[in-house]
């Protein structure tokens, strides 16, 4: 990834900031055309989206809440990607990880949240890691393709949770397939309680303490990938597995470990969604966050800083979309999915569309400034 950054003479700031901005702009133009085709005013619709996502404390808090889950799954996809593995199983790993977190919260009724949290984090990470480790093992030792096995593990996770929530875990005498509510003492402090502690009043909002955990994980992933021997081994295996093996790296162990860490990160989604917000194990609580994590990791170019930023963007799209359908009866919530798809298309798949033109536009200047520096 980094090798291509400057090979065509495009300055680094253009790759990091200008190109994503242009891609995003193009995505917004296409989205505007779609909104126009529905017969709505695209400018005011997009304005509502932006305003709904970041224009108020409430909107911003929802954006950050969505971003929290996306940071976890985005990091999960990125770390596997550094080891050359395309982990599509974030969805299932998040689901099963949430089971671990949920079971801990159910078992430790009455404990204060700060003692429950470490256990819940460990359990979520462990459950998620196991769900990532098995496909990793099958890839490393049996040659089963990781894409196929992780997709299949998503279905297995879904079937497992349906069985558990429809049977053993369901609260007796209720319709919805959900566990009973966790004890109130185990709830993660949300922004309302934190603000109350500081003397402010807010309405009930989903944003909670797990955002800090997500940011810690981002820092941890950065350290792991670029500042440890493990990270070096993963990147080497990802770049060229045969060469890594020749250099004496145990590629098989590296693959299994990378998938386990990847699964563990995805498994932490449950801390935000279950211990933080739902306070019970619900069906499909991860709601596509694992899949969106793939787009987040692609757009963030596998770097934790990029992942945090693109998580914010996608969180804003989720929340802005919710506000959009609140304001416009005519705009279906599906339109938001269209806009997300267009953003992914332009910033992920068509990433290099504008690049050659940009190179031509900036090259004389880049060459001149390079010459200036030399002089």
């Amino acid at each position: 990834m980094s090798a291509s950054t400057n090979s065509d003479g495009l300055p680094r700031w253009a790759t990091l900031a200008l190109l994503p901005a242009i891609n995003l702009g193009a995505a917004l133009v296409v989205s505007s055309l779609v909104i126009l085709a529905i017969g709505q005013d695209p400018l005011s619709a997009l304005a509502f989206m932006v305003k709904g996502a970041v224009g108020s404390g409430t909107g911003l808090s929802y954006t950050l809440y969505y971003a929290t889950s996306l940071i976890f799954t985005g990091l999960a996809v990125a770390i596997a990607n550094h080891a050359g593995l395309f982990n599509i199983g974030g969805e299932g790993q998040a689901y099963v990880g949430g089971l671990g977190t949920g079971l801990v919260c159910l078992a430790l009724s009455g404990w204060p949240w700060y003692t429950v949290l470490p256990v819940a984090v460990l359990a979520g990470a462990l459950f998620g890691a196991v769900w990532g480790l098995i496909p990793g093992y099958l890839q490393a030792y049996r040659g089963s393709h990781i894409v196929i096995t992780t997709i299949m593990f998503n279905f297995l996770a879904s079937a497992l949770m349906v069985y558990l929530l429809g049977g053993p875990l369901i609260e007796h005498g209720q319709m919805a397939p959900e566990s009973r509510e966790f004890a109130e003492s185990t709830f993660l402090p949300a922004v309302k309680e934190i603000a109350a502690g500081l003397g402010y009043r807010t309405s009930t909002l989903p944003l909670n303490l797990s955002l800090l955990l997500a940011l810690l994980c981002a820092a941890g992933v950065w350290f792991l990938i670029w500042h440890t021997r493990w990270g070096f081994q993963m990147r080497t295996v990802g770049a060229n597995e045969a060469a890594a093996r020749y250099a004496g790296i145990n590629a098989r162990t590296t693959i299994v470990v990378a998938m386990a860490i990847s699964g563990a990160l995805a498994g932490l989604v449950g801390i935000n969604e279950l211990q933080g917000v739902q306070h019970r194990i619900t069906l499909n609580f991860q709601a596509g966050m694992g899949f969106t994590g793939i787009a987040v990791a692609l757009m963030g170019r596998g770097h934790p800083v990029g992942i945090v930023l693109s998580s914010l963007l996608f969180g804003a799209l989720y929340q802005g979309g919710a506000e959009l359908s609140f304001e416009y009866n005519e705009i279906s919530p599906r339109l938001v999915v269209v806009i997300q798809g267009v953003v992914i298309l332009f910033s992920g798949a068509l990433e290099h569309m504008f690049r050659p033109a940009l190179v031509r536009l900036l090259k004389p200047k880049a060459a001149a400034s390079a010459a200036g520096q030399r002089a």
């Binding site: 680094r12 970041v54 349906v162």
Partner: protein
Amino acid sequence: MSRAIRAALAAAALLSCAFFVPGSAPARGAEAAFFPGVVFDYGGKYDKSFNEGVLTGIERFHRETGINYKALEISNDVQREQYLRRLAEHGADIILAVGFSQAPAVAKVAKEFPEIKFTLIDGVVKLPNVQSILFSEQEGSYLVGMLAALSSKTHTVGFVGGMDIPLIRRFECGYEQGVKAVAPDDHIIANMVGTTPAAWSDPTRGGELAKSQFDRGVDVVFAAAGQSGIGVLQAAKDAGKYSIGVDSNQNHLFPGSVLTSMVKRVDVAAYNAIKAAQDGTWQAGVRTLGLKEEGVGWALDENNAKLVTPEMKAALDAASAEIQNGTRKVANYDETNGCKY
């Protein structure tokens, strides 16, 4: 150093683009006029079944009074609470929550906004500002069960439920009682599409279950399965058997094949709740709508008139009258803790 400054400038430019909001947003919903809101559950407002029934009721209110409403469809769990709260903050006079899955969200938000009226359809929340509307599905199912037994020539009738929950068991139990009331020796074959909400929207599986029931001798099948039921009705049409629709009047879908529909008047319930809120006659508490309140019933129109003989109609009308005056009891699955009658 200069590279860092340029990067910062580019980032600032990007951010200012993102924050630029053209024009000022018009303030909506702030006026004092009556303003109802509704939050639909998964499946959305055009599901041809339960949610759409509520939409029909609100549309009727809108047509009659010209009053606008706000209808919201969720795309993840968190949005239930978010939308209920946003409607409350916007000053909605009454908020309709559709479906039992919304009960925990309604309980939370109704506590925060004690002055706003909430009506929950198909679930129960016991708070002083929440009206919970339930239906006596067993009573309507009892009548269509009788009709199934009266129409069956193979003395075997079928039932296809959507998601395996007590609510659908209530349909099944009422149906079984109706069948047995007419023909105590008839067989009933029952299947559920699944155990998750996905079971409401899987017409393929619904159709397959119906076909397997036909192979085992069923010639009348009752589908209480939301959208999945459409597959059951289609399979019955293809196999030349009878089917029974649910929730909305589905007789028109396959005239001549759909024997009748067990209608659940969610449209009337939704309309009445909003109307009552406007009139000031709205009351909190649990309301159960049965045959007497015309909350449930069986559909007879020009599409199935030829399938229902006068004798059948007379038998159903008599049973309906007996249920309404209390001389004929239909057991409720939830109250009897299983289908005991």
